[in-house]
Every structure is written in structure tokens, then in C-alpha cells.
């Protein structure tokens, strides 16, 4: 198997009475496509928040590329090459789509000269190309606030991709997309990830998507992994079918 790039070890986090992470552990290897599935409130988003520095675990550690990133800020972790998209898209709503991407580009390239105009960034074409890949080129000059949720989710992912992360967490990438478009969206995303050799972990509720795009599946329950395996193993696992997928055997 290829190199281990991220490891979460026994993460614990309690919110009042809720144990949102309860010994959560996961090993991620280069070029994997890991799907995280599990019921609402299982702690999937919390896990992403812990791995990307938004929340600090009360116990446990996170390693990325061999170094301990548990105590680092989201900013520092992002700079190391971990990207993320959000369950609720986090975008600059008053700006255009391309401006959102260009700001990410400027962050990546550290181009902060006050004499450079953002819309004249020398690598602007690269961002248009990225928009093209995710099928949003036509919306490039629209203000994000005016766009529907499904598009915003894609823009959110595109912004994360613009940073060229080695590893990306995507929190329910297809949740705002109608069911017949999900495959199309995942196809484009997979293409973009493959082209950049980006490893991906995504939270997903649609089992058809999981079956088709995941290389490995982790079933979340009660703040930790309950089952883990290939999509085939997991989706045919009787217990998982009952508790997560909601179909009796």
C-alpha cells in the first residue's frame, strides 16, 4: 500500500453531555478515496474539524506527513497541504466566484503586493481552468450570494482545490445536488483529484455514490469508526445495512 499521509489516533472530544469524538482513529494513505458514512450526529463533521484544527481534541493526536499537527491552527494545517470543504459552504458571499478562487490562489502563491490587482493576477487563467473542470465556468462572474446551494458546494470545493492540497476533506460534497446529477459531480471531482494526485476523504450519505467512488469506507457511529473496509464489504455488511443504510436484511 502507498505511504501513510494522515493518521488520527484515539481522538476524544466531549460537548457537555455529547461525546462527539470517542476514540476516533483513522489512517489515510496516499491517493485513497475514503468515504465516511454514518447517521446524523455520529461525529463525522467533528472528526473533520478535529483533523483540520478547528477543534482541539481533549485527548488523542493527529499526524500529517509524519509530524504532529494536533495543536496547530487551521491556518497552519492548511499551509501544510490539508484542504477542506464544508457541510455548509464557507465562501465570500459578496464576491464573484472567480474572486473567491483568485483569493485562494493569492493565498497559495503568497502574492500580496498592494500594487497587484486581484483580477489581474498573473495566474488567473489557471483558476478559470479549474472552474471549467468543475463545470462552473459560466458562473465565474456571478456573485456567490446569488447562486444556489448546490453550486456553492462545488465552489467551496473548488476553492479548497485551488490551494492544491495534498489531502482534502470534503463534508458531504453532493448534498446540495439533485440525485441524478450526483454521479456527474463526483465524476468531475474525481477527475480533478486524480489530475492533482490529491488524496480525499469525503462524508457521504448516498450509498450509490459511496459504492462507485470510494476506495475504502469508514462507518462512523457514536464518535468513532464502527466498521471499516472496502465498499463491497461494508455495503453488504448486515449490521451496517440495518443501522446506517436503513434497509433491513
Amino acid at each position: 500500500m502507498s505511504a501513510l499521509i494522515l493518521e488520527a489516533r484515539d481522538l476524544e472530544l466531549r460537548f457537555g453531555g455529547v461525546q462527539a469524538a470517542n476514540g476516533a482513529s483513522l489512517k489515510v494513505h496516499a491517493n485513497e478515496r475514503i468515504a465516511i458514512i454514518g447517521p446524523n450526529g455520529a461525529g463525522k463533521t467533528t472528526f473533520i474539524n478535529l483533523c483540520t484544527g478547528y477543534l482541539k481534541p481533549q485527548a488523542g493526536r493527529v499526524f500529517f506527513g509524519g509530524s504532529d499537527i494536533t495543536a496547530l491552527s487551521p491556518r497552519a494545517i492548511t499551509r501544510l497541504g490539508v484542504g477542506r470543504s464544508f457541510q455548509i459552504p464557507q465562501l465570500f458571499l459578496e464576491n464573484t466566484v472567480i474572486e473567491n478562487l483568485l483569493l485562494a490562489l493569492s493565498a497559495r502563491e503568497r502574492t500580496w503586493s498592494p500594487f497587484l490587482r486581484l483580477d489581474r493576477h498573473p495566474k488567473t487563467e489557471e483558476m478559470w481552468a479549474l472552474l471549467d473542470i468543475v463545470g462552473l465556468k459560466d458562473a465565474g462572474r456571478r456573485v456567490v450570494r446569488e447562486l444556489p446551494e448546490g453550486m456553492r458546494k462545488l465552489i467551496d470545493i473548488a476553492v479548497a482545490l485551488a490551494l492544491e492540497p495534498k489531502l482534502i476533506f470534503m463534508d458531504e460534497p453532493t448534498s446540495g445536488v439533485s440525485s441524478h446529477e450526483k454521479f456527474q459531480v463526483m465524476d468531475t471531482l474525481t477527475r480533478a483529484l486524480d489530475a492533482r494526485a490529491t488524496t480525499a476523504i469525503f462524508v457521504e450519505h448516498d450509498m450509490d455514490v459511496v459504492a462507485r467512488y470510494a476506495s475504502r469506507v469508514a462507518v462512523w457511529a457514536g464518535g468513532r469508526i464502527a466498521h471499516e473496509g472496502t465498499p463491497d464489504e461494508i455495503l453488504n455488511h448486515p449490521e451496517v445495512r440495518e443501522t446506517v443504510i436503513g434497509v433491513g436484511v
Binding site: 492548511t78 459578496e94 483569493l103 493569492s106 500580496w112 476553492v159 490551494l163
Partner: protein, 313 residues
């Protein structure tokens, strides 16, 4: 953009001609430019969704630096005093900024207010150094080595300030279009995402804060020169509030806004002095409410016909 340039050029032309037609207006217009500069600093912060009720601090600090240097006859020369005092304000802003950029919204606004009130109290209480509530006189310095008569001096200072204000406005406009300026606006729209781009929102805000301190400082330095006198009142919350008022009145949509606002402010002050001398801040308060509720983009917004932007979150 084109509209911004047209309005800016129109305003500039009017400002160039006006003092020649009516010499009595020179000082008032200079004061307007100084307050416009400070309000431009407020505009920069407002772009990040932050408001400071304490920028009188930098205005006053710079003015007192001018007064002290002038009293010490040290570099008693406009071309030395103004840059030194402005830089001193920038330094002070950097120092205070290290602390305040950790905070947002309420805390940011109130901490700035608190710090400026401390400075105000010190100016009043340390009588032996600052001259207390009476303040300090600022003897007229030379300009490029030449001692000028009062009227000439005022006219020169006006045109120099006008030139500096144009430079400042163009510089700020440029900055706001740059990636750094957009990152500044990102603090207002989504700080979480900004951090997840690997950008330090504190650093971005720090830069903007120092810039705003420099702008207020530049205004304060010139005010000290043209009024020939500095008092603690320059640091009082009322002053700081006026800068915010001017920025909101003019509108934060473009860098011309604060200067439009500052001119309007002088006109209102003129009328208020006649019709409502005791309640002139109440007049400002009422106007502020009217602008916020009915013309949220200010005068500049009215002139450019921009639709009110959504204020909800």
C-alpha cells in the same frame, strides 16, 4: 470605477478652485481634508466589518507630536514635522494593533474607545507635560525652509494636504483592489474560510489597522499646523465618533466617500453652529440614524446609485 473617477475628479477640481475664489474657506477645507483622511482610515477598517470609536487617538497623538516638536524647535519645518508625526502615529497604531487585532466587532470598537479615552485622560491630567485641558500652542513652522505669512502658509498647506489626500485615496483604492484588500473584506464576509485559505486574518487586519492609524495621523499632523493649537479634545470620543460619522455619511463604497462626507460634515457644522449650537451632536446622531436606516451607502452611494447591499448575515 469610471464613476468613481468622475466623481473624484469633479470633487478635486472644485477643491482646487474654491480657495482661490474665497480665501476664507481655505482653513475649513483643510480641516475637512484632515477629517476626510481620518475617515478614510475608518473606511479601511469598515471594509473588514470593524469599527473603531477611538481613532481620535491617532489624530491627537500625531497632532501632539507636532506640538512637542514645534515647541522644542526641533525640526520646525513642515516637511519634517508632517512625516515624522504621521510615522509616529503609525508606530503607535502598530503597538496598539498588536493587541486589538485579536478582537472583532464589539470588542474591537470598544477597546479602541477605551484606549483613546485613556490617552485623553492622560493628556488632561499630566498637566505639566501636556498643558492639560488648555493644550499646547503650535508656532507656525517654515515650509521648505521659508517662513511664510499666515494666509500664504494656509494656502500652501491646503494644496499640499489636497495632494496628499489624493495620493492617499488613490493608494487606498489600489490596496482595496489588491489581494490583500480583498482578504481584508474577507474578514467581514467569512473569516473561517480566510483562515482555511492559510491566511492570517490578524495579520491582514493588522496591516489595515496600521494604515488607518497612518491616515488619521496624517490628518492630525496637518490639523495641528493649520489650527496652531492642540487640545485633548482631539482625542475625545466625540472626535472619534465624528470620523465614523463622516465615513458612514460619505459612504464606504469608494475612497471618495469619506471626503464627500467630510465636506458635508463641515456644511452641517456650519449650519448647526447657527441653528442648533447646543445640540449639534444630537443632530449628528439623528442624521446617522437616518443614513443607516434609509441610505446605507451614504452620499457616495446616492451619487453612484448603488443599490443598498444586504446587511443581513
Amino acid at each position: 470605477m469610471a464613476r468613481q473617477l468622475i466623481i473624484g475628479a469633479g470633487l478635486l477640481a472644485a477643491l482646487i478652485i474654491f480657495p482661490l475664489l474665497s480665501p476664507w474657506s481655505t482653513v475649513i477645507l483643510t480641516v475637512a481634508l484632515c477629517e476626510g483622511l481620518a475617515a478614510l482610515g475608518i473606511l479601511v477598517l469598515l471594509r473588514a466589518g470593524q469599527v473603531s470609536f477611538g481613532h481620535g487617538l491617532y489624530f491627537a497623538f500625531s497632532a501632539y507630536v507636532v506640538a512637542f516638536m514645534a515647541a522644542a524647535r526641533f525640526g520646525h519645518e513642515v516637511l519634517i514635522l508632517v512625516p515624522v508625526a504621521t510615522a509616529a502615529s503609525g508606530l503607535l497604531a502598530a503597538l496598539v494593533g498588536l493587541f486589538v487585532v485579536r478582537y472583532r466587532a464589539i470588542f474591537f470598537g470598544m477597546l479602541n474607545l477605551a484606549i483613546s479615552m485613556v490617552f485623553f485622560s492622560l493628556l488632561e491630567k499630566l498637566f505639566s507635560i501636556t498643558g492639560g485641558a488648555d493644550g499646547k500652542r503650535v508656532p507656525r513652522p517654515t515650509l521648505a525652509g521659508i517662513s511664510l505669512e499666515r494666509a500664504e502658509f494656509e494656502l500652501w498647506i491646503f494644496y499640499i494636504t489636497l495632494g496628499l489626500a489624493v495620493l492617499a485615496a488613490l493608494g487606498v483604492a489600489r490596496y482595496l483592489l489588491s489581494p490583500g484588500g480583498k482578504a481584508l473584506e474577507a474578514i467581514k464576509s467569512n473569516e473561517t474560510r480566510l483562515e482555511y485559505l492559510g491566511v492570517s486574518s490578524r495579520k491582514v487586519l493588522f496591516g489595515a489597522y496600521v494604515l488607518s492609524g497612518l491616515l488619521a495621523g496624517l490628518g492630525g499632523a496637518v490639523i495641528a499646523l493649520v489650527s496652531g493649537h492642540v487640545t485633548p479634545e482631539l482625542a475625545y470620543w466625540v472626535r472619534s465618533g465624528e470620523f465614523v460619522f463622516i465615513a458612514i455619511l460619505g459612504g464606504v463604497g469608494g475612497v471618495v466617500g469619506p471626503f464627500l462626507g467630510a465636506l458635508m460634515f463641515q456644511i452641517i457644522r456650519g449650519y448647526a453652529a447657527v441653528y442648533a449650537p447646543e445640540t449639534w451632536h444630537a443632530v449628528l446622531g439623528v442624521m446617522l440614524l437616518v443614513i443607516i436606516f434609509f441610505a446605507p451607502n451614504g452620499l457616495y452611494g446616492l451619487m453612484t446609485g448603488r443599490k443598498p447591499a444586504g446587511t443581513g448575515q
